[in-house]
Amino acid sequence: MDNVKISMRGVHKRFGKKVVLDGVDLDVESGRSLVVIGGSGTGKSVLIKCILGILEPDAGSIRIDGVEVVGSRSGAAGAKRAECGMLFQGGALFDSLKIWENVAFRLIYAERLSRQKAREIAMHTLKRVGLGEDVGDLLPAELSGGMQKRVSLARAIASDPQIIFFDEPTTGLDPIMADVINDLIRSTTADEGVTAVTITHDMQSVRAIADTVAMLYAGRIHWQGPVAEIDASGDAYVEQFVEGNADGPIRIERAAE
């Protein structure tokens, strides 16, 4: 594929004796939205943390736009990672900073914009995610969970990244707020042509924001295909996950462990 944005080959990661990623091969096309599904503890977060450089894989290759980022401290690898934005599951907002400073963080400290210019961009970005200017001078603790998620989304998109990662974007939100966040993610990625990688358990989110779905199981990509095919994948593991059945191969193997 010519338009592959992220390419992972044979990525391994273990913590002590626990093997989390056991040879992940995965391609993410440019401008498309990939959602990675899988049970709790299957290594979804580890997968995107390896791409972002928060964790270092034990083996394997990760390329962004063809640039190897594993084990590389080169300027090119750093520049590629600087093109990424991330929305964390819990928001991960800096609680000692005001909301606008959170949103403008990268603009001030990495891109070295003036605080005034960065504040203008932050306020505009807050508006894009449906938050008013009055929120800008509050602290994260003064906001609800849904508003914090929006601020975190604003922080992820404020510097116009090429790739955005979403870690469980709707977890802990009520269904209406979850739908609002899904819409924001969809509109943000579709309007800007950004490549998106999302990990989630929430099938409603999967259907709302995915172009392609990949299922991570036993440390590898077990199934990958267009979102339209997920209900007719013909794969017992995927079907069990999608339908949320207690009975199926996933449970049997867990019991066998």
Binding site: I54, C84, F88, F94, Y109, R112
Partner: protein, 257 residues
């Protein structure tokens, strides 16, 4: 359980801790000394460590000076050596008690706060978020704290020395009947530059130890509230022990014949 196995595990764990701390220190210094720098963070840490520790260090110093004067008087009276009280107070405070007590008080106040803040940031993924915002956590979080400890504790100790000597002076002149001029002359008669310098070098070493322990234990905190609690306790305990240990070695360097 086999005692040898227990001993072996303890030794391996100790080696692991020492290696981890050494690796953390090298990484913090090698990365933190390189640009970009974050002046606001440096200023904030200097205020937190220095300015906001003034009340607790000042109170400790004044009462220590007062007690020293009283104790010296009752002890030295037996040998009719009351005239040495001013010298005893100033040398004890400047060489030993000023830096050690200030170090221990700052370890309790600042070291614990650093470990708790960084541990909470680790648990809530704020440190990971820094990486995704193209900001090196070692430069943004660790180096300003290390520099703050290294620079501000000597300044605190200068203040503590003055207040401690003043405490002795107050007791000597108001309670023990010493003349004001006579006491002050005795205070400075035998005080040498080396006494002051050794106290300030000790303070710098202790400040670095307090900040390093707070940062290391907070930065490597385990997940969950319990992990943060353990990190905080370890930061204070290890900093206190290392201060007392380093105190001997610095004294040995300055005053051994």
């Amino acid at each position: 359980m086999n005692p040898l196995r227990v001993l072996g595990r303890s030794v391996v764990a100790l080696c692991g801790s020492v290696g981890g701390l050494a690796s953390f220190t090298v990484r913090a210094l090698s990365r933190g000394l390189m640009p970009p720098y974050f002046p606001r963070q440096y200023l904030r840490q200097c205020l937190d460590i220095g300015y906001y520790s003034l009340p607790v260090v000042g109170l400790t110093a004044i009462f220590t000076g007062m007690v020293l004067a009283l104790q010296s008087y009752t002890g030295f009276q037996r040998f009719e050596a009351e005239s040495a009280i001013a010298t005893i107070v100033v040398l004890s405070v400047v060489r030993e008690l000023g830096p050690v007590l200030a170090g221990l008080m700052v370890a309790g106040r600042v070291g614990a706060a650093m470990a708790a803040e960084l541990g909470t940031m680790r648990v809530t993924e704020q440190i990971d978020a820094l990486t995704t915002l193209s900001t090196d956590p070692y430069r943004y979080l660790i180096m300003p704290r290390l520099v703050g400890g290294l620079v501000m504790l000597p300044l605190l100790v200068i203040v503590a020395d003055i207040i401690g000597v003043m405490g002795g002076y107050l007791i000597a002149t108001l309670k023990l009947g010493f003349g004001s001029v006579e006491y002050l002359n005795s205070t400075f008669r035998y005080l040498e530059m080396q006494d002051v310098v050794s106290g300030l070098v000790k303070a710098a070493v202790f400040g670095f130890i307090v900040a390093l322990m707070g940062c290391y234990h907070g930065f490597t905190s385990e997940r969950g509230a319990q992990g943060v609690g353990v990190a905080t306790t370890r930061a204070v305990v290890t900093a206190s022990i290392l201060i007392l240990t380093a105190n001997y070695f610095v004294t040995e360097i300055f005053f051994s014949r």
